[in-house]
Every structure is written in structure tokens, then in C-alpha cells.
């Protein structure tokens, strides 16, 4: 099956592209950035066929031309700028152009060129304040978008719903948890790197890792689980809903120290400690407040989604991946 992945050179995008290629799909990667040479060399050894195209989703004519040329059967729309506070003000227009207008360009082209299903990778951030107002959120919990990234992801979901309702497009949105795992890198369009990756960067640079004293509740999700959930949504014969949480649904308590210990297996030079009372940590947990766990009941019951076993297993797998893919970070 020919699948177009927008934002396919990004962290989540690369995981999806790899999973599609691994099962032999024909994949068109569209991005305004270059596919990392290292990722290409890995992907070229997989059974599927890879084409990559430079295209900016903010450019509607370019998006239409992309669809006209490649005629994908399915689409994963993952192109986004994960804007933090600085970019929210300094690059407001560009964030809206990519995150919101870009979504509509992709949806319009999908309708015009007869795409069979489109999966939009939204974000748990779409819940906004609702994430810190309760311990669990389901897809029925009212969203309260609270920053530009959150606002544009939520607005894009609503635009997807309109294309479904009024244009008959088969489109499904999925809200991703806090992703970590293979293929994360500093792309320049993600303002918040995951905890494990921050730790890895310090360790690789020979810095001592200083962890925050208090770790906020967060349901981390492994990037390969995200890819498998997205493929499940792309493949499902029928879906009963148009919105699915995609996370681990569990509280990764004390992820910081446990991750550092696991990383030591392949990087014995790792030094870490908890910050002292007035010390500023050099890694962050993507926010200081406990965040609600995202219920994955809907995705589990409908497509049988199961995140990989335990935190230790995926941590070990990721540590091995980092060790065997050193070329990616050099």
C-alpha cells in the first residue's frame, strides 16, 4: 500500500516510516527538512520502497502537487512545529501556517485525490489544562487548549472532523502521549526533548546529569508503540470513533533515575544525581505539574493496541538502539 507520511523526517514520523517500510509498504516521506542520511541508510535495508520529497505543508499548491504526483492510498499527517513558549510568540504565524493551515491543505488534497484514510497525529497537549485538572482523561474529556501548540493541535482535530462530516473523508485523529525512543533528535522544530533523550545528550557530552528533585506524573509512550498504534488506525477495517488516545496509560514513576541506571549498561561513564535543594537540574520533565494519564481503553478495545510490556523492557531496547545506532547522533 502506498502511504504518504507528512513530517516523515521528524521524530514520530521516522518511527512510522520505519514501521511501514518494515512491513513492505511503499512510503512517500514529505517534509520541509531533509531525511537524515543515517535514517535513509537504515531504511534502505528494509523491504518497503522509500521516496522522499521536499514539501512544506504550509504551501497548499505544493501539497496538492505532491498528492497529484504520488497518489497515496493512505496518509499519516504528522508534520508539525512543536512550539514552546518562545516560539509561540516569536513565530506565531509560521506555527499556525504549518500546524493549522498545513492540516487543511493536506485534508483538502486527500479529498481531491481520493485518499482512503488519513490518520492525523494529534497530541495529548490538545487536552490543555484538562491534563492538570484530573488524574485521567478519556477522549470524552472536554479539551481546554492552553498554549499555541495545544490550540493548533485541537483546532486541527476540529478541522479534520469537518472534512469528515462535510467532505466525506475517512479521517481519524490520535492524541499521542509524551513520546520517547528511537529516532529522537534535535530537529529544531521540537522545543521539548524527552527526558531520556536529554539524559542521553548529557551523557554523550560527558556531563553529569542533574535530575529534578520531584518528578511529575507523566505517561511516557515508546515511539515504536506510537508507530504500531498509528499503523493500526491506518489499517483498521472500520473504526467506531474519530479520536483515539495513543499512549502507555501508565504512570512512569521515577523514570529519571531508572532510565539513568539502564543507560549505564551501554554508557558506563554516565554520572547522575538528584539536584540539591537550591540547584537547577539540567534535564526537565516537560513541565512540573502532574499530568493526567491518557486512557487507552478505546484504542485497546477497538484495534487491540497494547503498549510493550514494562518500562524496563522498552528502556533496555532503547538503550540498545542508541548503542547500535551511534551514527545517528554523530
Amino acid at each position: 500500500m502506498k502511504i504518504l507520511v507528512t513530517g516523515g523526517t521528524g521524530f514520530v514520523g521516522l518511527n512510522i516510516v520505519e514501521a511501514l517500510l518494515a512491513r513492505g509498504d511503499e512510503v512517500v516521506v514529505a517534509s520541509d527538512a531533509t531525511l537524515p542520511a543515517y535514517a535513509r541508510s537504515v531504511f534502505e535495508r528494509l523491504p518497503g520502497r522509500l521516496t522522499d520529497v521536499r514539501a512544506d505543508v504550509a504551501d497548499s499548491a505544493a501539497v496538492d502537487a505532491l498528492f497529484a504526483q504520488h497518489r497515496p492510498v493512505g496518509v499519516v499527517h504528522a508534520a508539525v512545529i512543536t512550539a514552546g513558549e518562545v516560539r509561540e510568540f516569536a513565530a506565531f504565524d509560521r506555527v499556525v501556517d504549518v500546524n493549522l493551515k498545513g492540516t487543511s491543505h493536506v485534508l483538502a488534497a486527500a479529498v481531491a485525490h481520493g485518499v482512503r484514510r488519513l490518520v492525523y497525529t494529534s497530541s495529548g497537549s490538545a487536552y490543555g489544562r484538562a491534563l492538570v485538572e484530573s488524574a485521567t482523561v478519556t477522549e470524552e474529556t472536554p479539551a481546554k487548549p492552553d498554549n499555541l501548540y495545544s490550540i493548533t493541535k485541537h483546532a486541527s482535530e476540529r478541522v479534520c472532523a469537518r472534512y469528515c462530516e462535510l467532505r466525506g473523508l475517512d479521517v481519524v485523529c490520535t492524541r499521542l502521549g509524551s513520546v520517547f525512543g528511537p529516532w529522537e533528535r534535535n530537529t529544531g522544530v521540537r522545543d521539548s526533548l524527552s527526558l531520556p533523550f536529554q539524559v542521553f545528550r548529557h551523557a554523550a557530552a560527558g556531563n553529569e546529569v542533574i535530575l529534578p528533585r520531584a518528578e511529575a506524573r507523566r505517561d511516557w509512550v515508546y515511539s515504536r508503540d506510537v508507530a504500531s498504534g498509528v499503523l493500526g488506525l491506518l489499517d483498521a477495517k472500520t473504526l467506531r470513533h474519530r479520536l483515539y488516545n495513543l499512549s502507555s496509560g501508565i504512570d512512569w514513576k521515577d523514570f529519571g533515575p531508572s532510565w539513568c541506571e539502564t543507560l549505564k549498561r551501554t554508557m558506563p561513564q554516565v554520572r547522575f544525581r538528584i539536584a540539591t535543594e537550591n540547584e537547577t537540574p539540567n534535564v526537565s520533565f516537560l513541565g512540573h505539574r502532574d499530568r493526567a494519564l491518557m486512557s487507552i481503553e478505546r484504542l485497546s478495545s477497538e484495534i487491540g493496541f497494547r503498549p510493550r510490556a514494562g518500562r524496563e523492557d522498552v528502556s533496555a531496547e532503547y538503550v540498545t538502539w542508541l548503542d547500535t545506532h551511534r551514527g545517528y547522533h554523530e
Copy 2:
């Protein structure tokens, strides 16, 4: 006091501009459209001083230059495209540029140029589906934006909240009900004209008015009440909230026939009837479904807002206005 009104040539904008001029304020009208000559001639007889400037809020440099030149103390940001279903798809980008990016341009300029308070005229549409899921909505009812206009108004409110939270701007949002009254006209950027104005247009053209058989619940609000509420929010020494409904809060039952009867006083040629069973009416009620009444308790208790007496009073006033301002529609 020098007040900038963006979208000041629009229906709601003209009412706000008129109210400000009537009390002697200095008003800068900014719009990408021309101030109607008839409105100018009326406004020039009012005590305040009027300046009008062509500026497109989608152009951030033009917005900044506008603020730099005129240095307003207060701002009413009313510029918007009230997009219906056709424009939602055909002009998605322009709607986002004006409705969402435009809001951020105005907010950024307000911060940069030391504006004391900004009132953003949002819309009851920001509630989206929540409007048809209950009989009353308060500012605490979770919004469920459901079309592009709704999405961009809701997203803009959230952006206002960010400018307040992170940039210290004194900004207040107000969600307007279904507005009718003086200064309504077909501007080309409003896809839904009010019921009274649709009736008036048919009557003026000599057409028989064919009213829908069932009238959905809707809390119409008189445009001059909207202006008085907005001025109240602009003036209030302190405000306890950042979001206020501004409507009449009452169900205008059978507004169609009652309005037609009132209009007959000055336009005896008005002919109207209810559509027969399979007939298509030639006026619409802005949607077929009952809409929740917007509670105005917050605005009433905090700034003493009271919509004008009864439906008959404002209808009579508007009918007189239409009669004495025939030049506006010729």
C-alpha cells in the same frame, strides 16, 4: 480616550464606533474595507473625533505601524470573517489569517505599544456543539468548536489568554449572541445575515417573505446592546474574569412573525407568511436547531449590563432606524 476599533467598518464594529463617538471619544477605525460613506456622514455629526485607516489585520507589519502611528489607549478587536460552510473550505487560509493570526498581530502590537485594555469580540459560536447540547451555557461550559468560524474564535480567545498570562496584557473576551439591529448590511465577510435583516431586504425588494415553519430557539441581541456591553468592558476599573457572554439571555420566541408585524409599521407593503409543508422559506434562522441561551449573569453582576427592555421596544427602535437611515441601504 483614544480607542482603536479593528473591523470598525463591519456590522458590530460600526455600532461600537458610533457609541464611542457619541460619548466624545477619539476613535480610530481600522479595516481592510472602506467606511461606508453614509455611516461617515452620520458619525461626523457626533461629538467624538473619527479617523479611519485601511489596514488588514492579517498583515502584521501594517498592524504594528497602525499602533505606532495612532497609539491607542484602548482597543476593540472586532475584525473577523464570519465564514459559512462554503468559505470554510474555499477560503480556509484567508479565514485563518484574519481570524486567528490577525488576533495575534493585534495582541502583539497592543503589548508593544502599551495598550491599557483590549476587548476581543468573540462569538457565542465559540461554544460550538455545546450550544445545541444544553438549554443554557455559562462561561464555564466547556466549548466544543465545530466549524471554522467557531474554531478560529475559540482559538483566538485562547491566544488572548496567553497574552494575558505571559505578556501581562489586560485583555478581555466577550462572546456575542446572534446580533441584529442598526448598521447591519451585506459586507461580503458575513455569511449569515440576521433574520430581521433578511426580512427587511426582501421587503425592500418587494418580495413576499416566506418564514420557516419552525423557529429554533435563539437569544437575539440588539446591536446597540452589544456596543454598550463592549464599552462597559472597555471602561470597567477592574474585571474579575477574562471571558463574558454578551447577549440578551432570553428566548425570542416567534421572532419572525412579530418582526414582520413591526416592520409593517413603516413598510406597509411587507407581505409575509409561514412556509407551507414542502415549501422552502426565503429567510433562515441561522440554523435549524434550538440553541442554548447564553447566561449573561456574569456581565450583569459585574458591570451592571442590562439588555434593553423587551423585544417589541428594540424591534420598534430598529424599524424606526431603518426608516430614518434609508440612505444606508440605497
